[in-house]
Symmetry: none
Subunit: 221 residues, 4 copies
Amino acid sequence: MVKRGTTRSDPTGDAARPRARRLDPEARRRAILDAALIVFAENGFAGTRMDDVAARAGVAKGTLYLYFEDKKALFQGLVHDAADPVLGVLEERVASFEGDTRELLAVVFAHLAAQAVHSPRRHLVKLMMGEGERFPELADFYYREVVSRGMGILRTINARALERGEITSDAGLRFPQLIIAPLLVAVMWESLFARSEPLDTTDMLMTHVDLVLRGLGWRKP
Amino acid sequence: MVKRGTTRSDPTGDAARPRARRLDPEARRRAILDAALIVFAENGFAGTRMDDVAARAGVAKGTLYLYFEDKKALFQGLVHDAADPVLGVLEERVASFEGDTRELLAVVFAHLAAQAVHSPRRHLVKLMMGEGERFPELADFYYREVVSRGMGILRTINARALERGEITSDAGLRFPQLIIAPLLVAVMWESLFARSEPLDTTDMLMTHVDLVLRGLGWRKP
Amino acid sequence: MVKRGTTRSDPTGDAARPRARRLDPEARRRAILDAALIVFAENGFAGTRMDDVAARAGVAKGTLYLYFEDKKALFQGLVHDAADPVLGVLEERVASFEGDTRELLAVVFAHLAAQAVHSPRRHLVKLMMGEGERFPELADFYYREVVSRGMGILRTINARALERGEITSDAGLRFPQLIIAPLLVAVMWESLFARSEPLDTTDMLMTHVDLVLRGLGWRKP
Amino acid sequence: MVKRGTTRSDPTGDAARPRARRLDPEARRRAILDAALIVFAENGFAGTRMDDVAARAGVAKGTLYLYFEDKKALFQGLVHDAADPVLGVLEERVASFEGDTRELLAVVFAHLAAQAVHSPRRHLVKLMMGEGERFPELADFYYREVVSRGMGILRTINARALERGEITSDAGLRFPQLIIAPLLVAVMWESLFARSEPLDTTDMLMTHVDLVLRGLGWRKP
DNA sequence: TATGAATGAGAGTTCATTCAT
DNA sequence: TATGAATGAACTCTCATTCAT
């Protein structure tokens, strides 16, 4: 299933090999992780071959094992590495935001659409969905580093809006998951069903902002 | 050289294998599908071994291939088999429902919570999320069998509500994905994060019904 | 390799089955052997599936095992059974032939062309070529029942011709294999290379009769 | 369920495997082909297990697949590798031969007796006879690589002899198969019937040269 | 006697991991 | 440190054989 090209390795070939690209260890580690994100996301954990990761990273297969204990460690390293940077920006923006909550939500979802839906990082979300249950430590880690921070941001936004009298419902405070849910759908649709039925996810997310604000009792203060 | 007998080995064969007979084909098919759901859910598509499916179903490995062409066909059978009755029931209920849309949505989400979130079937949703991109045929199949039918149901509900003057917004008609989104979150949360932070998904879904109806301009007619 | 159609067995089907074709045991045995000749010849011993033999014989797989101990016994039975009848006719004809040796050889090769090249029996020759070494008992049996008798016939013909003064060389007496050799080529060519380069094997065999007679010093007595 | 580690097992692994290194790729390829010739010859194509080829070649099973795409490619490699040099030598010798055609044929058949009958290569001829029909690609390949070249050599010899006035018949030009036929018999006899009735195949082939030349109208020019 | 669903050993092939260079 | 040929366990799928009916 999913027959891949099996690049036969020309054992009698004597093609001059470049050997040891000059690249400092940290850069090489990055190259491997970047490659791994793509390949794991495309093929899942079990479906990914170390060969492919190595090829995409431009290193030899053995080199992977100098940087990561084994396939599992590489996978975990990948998630650890890719998770953080998105939310820091959001937290800062929310903390310092001046406008009203409608504007804020629009900014937040625009940011997330760009960073989590229309970027390779969306693969990470899919990876967690697909493999998370098999790697509980990872799921925990992801919860700590991403999910709970994300929920925190959403709660902050809701609390702020309530305080400012912009909304009347505390539904988003109790279930911030309801605010973020369409993002999951967007990721999934882009990955799986876009070819069956295209979907303007940006339009959808903006419609969601309207819908949810109205649902929460929005009123321009 | 190492004559490997054409004749089967184990001439003293004393292994007690009961040769589980008398189980009508349909029951056996069910047993296999039930086993497959568990095992696929635990290990993903690529990570699942036919051996394990067979063991859990209590049949020999070869038997699987009497009922399903290959691993992929087994997976498809699984999806079809699990999704079809759930959606069939929903379609019927929606078609014949007498009450108002709030009651209808409550019924629908209660049904989905029971059948798709708090049931082993939830694994299927995760499976599609995790593996779908790699098996476009599967994703297409899932789109046809599940997603498009689900979106159809939601559009029907929204159209009905607009007609009856219960809501004013067509957002749910344009993006039924927004209506269903929390279901995905529920599935994922139950699978991945429940142990980090328990979530009352039923409460969440009912809150969602309130939120979204209000968002759509709900008014008791 | 050599993917076959894997007729899936419709385990949920309830198609009425004919059951127990009325056919006396000997006829059924024949049906099985006839089927086996074709299928073994087409696929070799290891490449033949009992399923295919059963299907072609029009019996259930299990029935084969009522008539033959196992696959090997079936194969051996097949060779035993198919070997004899050709040569008896030849021996008689040669013993009673009245004409000159050229006519006799023409008759013999015409007979062999019909019976051993352009008939299913050619499969038997190929089977022996392909599998004989792996079944020494069979090779011995085939030698006794077919080869040595065939060599005997050819020696008789040569001796008769020498006696009658039609030829001068005893080469055919010492190496009757040289007389029969083109028959092997004919069988092989028809089976393997006809589609690459068609060959009129009948013409070839008649040319051979001319060539070999002249080589043996033919002279119309 | 039965977590089968992604991590390789055998943590106490004490099995002494030498990891047969240092053998240049070409030598290893040869070792594999030599082993394959034996094993294929003994068991036929379908009857051969890659395991056995690997064991006999002294490499791990996976190594076979570094050198050959799959079983079929291994078989083709075998045929090509064995046939090419034999025919190459013959073509050269024929092209540059100075003596008369009787001497030339003697040389050719001596070469073939040594290289194709009294050598493991004879198994290849048998293999093609036995398995060729089932693998049309192989038969075609064999026709192109071996048979048509062989027929070409024989036609060249016949044409040369006619030109030089050494023979008068064009039978060998029309049917070079008649010239080569005894070689097939020799191969088969050595393989199947030698133990029932020894045959001096070299003597037979030399007798054939006499017989066929006389048949073609030989006359020392 | 005849059936054919069920069995499970084993086939070809893949790929995570190792280690001589 | 980096390489990639070599390894062999584990995978999916096949098919000779059995046995309840």
